[in-house]
Symmetry: C2
Subunit: 197 residues, 2 copies
DNA sequence: GACAAGTAAACGATCGTTCGGTAAGTTTCC
DNA sequence: GGAAACTTACCGAACGATCGTTTACTTGTC
């Protein structure tokens, strides 16, 4: 459909602008100018700015669920978990539009949006890791391990922009695989310590 | 001084509003109304909105450096590190104004503010942990361990609001000390694994 | 001819900011 | 000691710009 393609163009550009500047700092005129159309025309496709933003979030946040790898045939749980975590981290570092919008919503105070955002953006990540973890460790330890794991991932993705500024040692370079390796190393130590009990 | 006390009143209230709604969503009229003064009067104390915001950040972010515990006499490095980490986490969970402003700046795109923010809010935390860590593990492992540790802390504080929404198991409750314990457990496993090499 | 996609122009509201003025305190100077 | 000069802290009113949005009208397409 022509219509939905045009709408998709709008959502794609809106995602970039909202990710870069935030909801309040992007005006309908900004969007119109960037799309080479009258701001009035945006109201032909969306009822108002809030709905445009909401649809943008739906559009962007749905990406993460599609990118989560399935376990390969007879893949060991530990190996699958590693693929999952490294896949999530790589996706978040790559898709800066997704990540910036996510962190903006994490800081937002709009309670209506929050619940929606949690289900759309966080839930798929959280549940997929939960499932993978539950094959690996005893059930009673899943939630706390999961929370730590998700915290590490979110924290690392959030902070990654700033580490190079913080390092006194300029030679130290961060890269995605090294991060994942470190997170996974921490996890496997944790798993091992659970086994010993 | 009367003047600086009035200015401090403004900064205190501005911090709350900016933390809650963000820079763009708070108008000078909002501030004026909440302070029961004319917005024009704000320009007697500050040159413009940007400077008011900047001073607010300085004011709020300087809190963290004051709250970092010093090592007690003859305190073991491991024990001091634990105090440090738990102190930082407790502070961040308690001072929601600080934390919200911090995460807003973490998502911001204003490069001028970013460098300033990194030095004021992140640097004290980062360096204090770095120093404590360097007493505990070999130098070459400090940076990577540090980054993971800071990521975990920042990630956990950021996500803590959402875990209760994500948990299928409603009975599971998160509390600050349990979190710290888990982060420290992960760290001591890591330290132990370094020792073994 | 009907319906989608687009425009120009304007609506009232709100934005950051400025201006001219006032009332109260502080300093200076005879 | 007291008038004059100056400073500080505020106000009401307005500035031009921009905001989200609406209205009435045109264009293109099936």
């Amino acid at each position: 459909m022509r219509a939905s393609s045009k709408k998709q163009d709008i959502l794609l550009l809106a995602a970039n602008l909202f990710a870069e500047r935030g909801f309040e700092a992007v005006s309908m005129r900004d969007l119109g100018k960037a799309l080479q159309m009258t701001p009035a025309n945006l109201y032909h496709h969306f009822t108002d700015k809030e709905q445009l933003y909401r649809e943008t979030l739906v559009d962007v946040f749905s990406r993460v669920a599609q990118v989560l790898p399935k376990p390969a045939k007879e893949e060991r749980p530990q190996s699958y978990l590693e693929h999952l975590v490294s896949g999530i981290i790589a996706f978040m570092l790559r898709d800066t539009v997704f990540t910036r919008l996510m962190f903006r919503e994490l800081s937002s105070d709009n309670h209506e949006r929050t619940a929606f955002f949690v289900e759309k953006a966080l839930r798929p990540v959280y549940d997929s890791i939960a499932k993978a973890l539950s094959l690996l460790i005893r059930k009673s330890a899943v939630t706390s391990t999961l929370d730590m794991l998700v915290s590490s991932i979110i924290g690392y993705v959030n902070m990654s922009r700033f580490f190079s500024l913080l390092h006194r040692d300029a030679s130290y370079e961060t890269d995605c695989e090294a991060i994942t390796a470190r997170i996974m190393a921490g996890l496997s130590l944790h798993v091992a310590s659970l086994d010993m009990k």
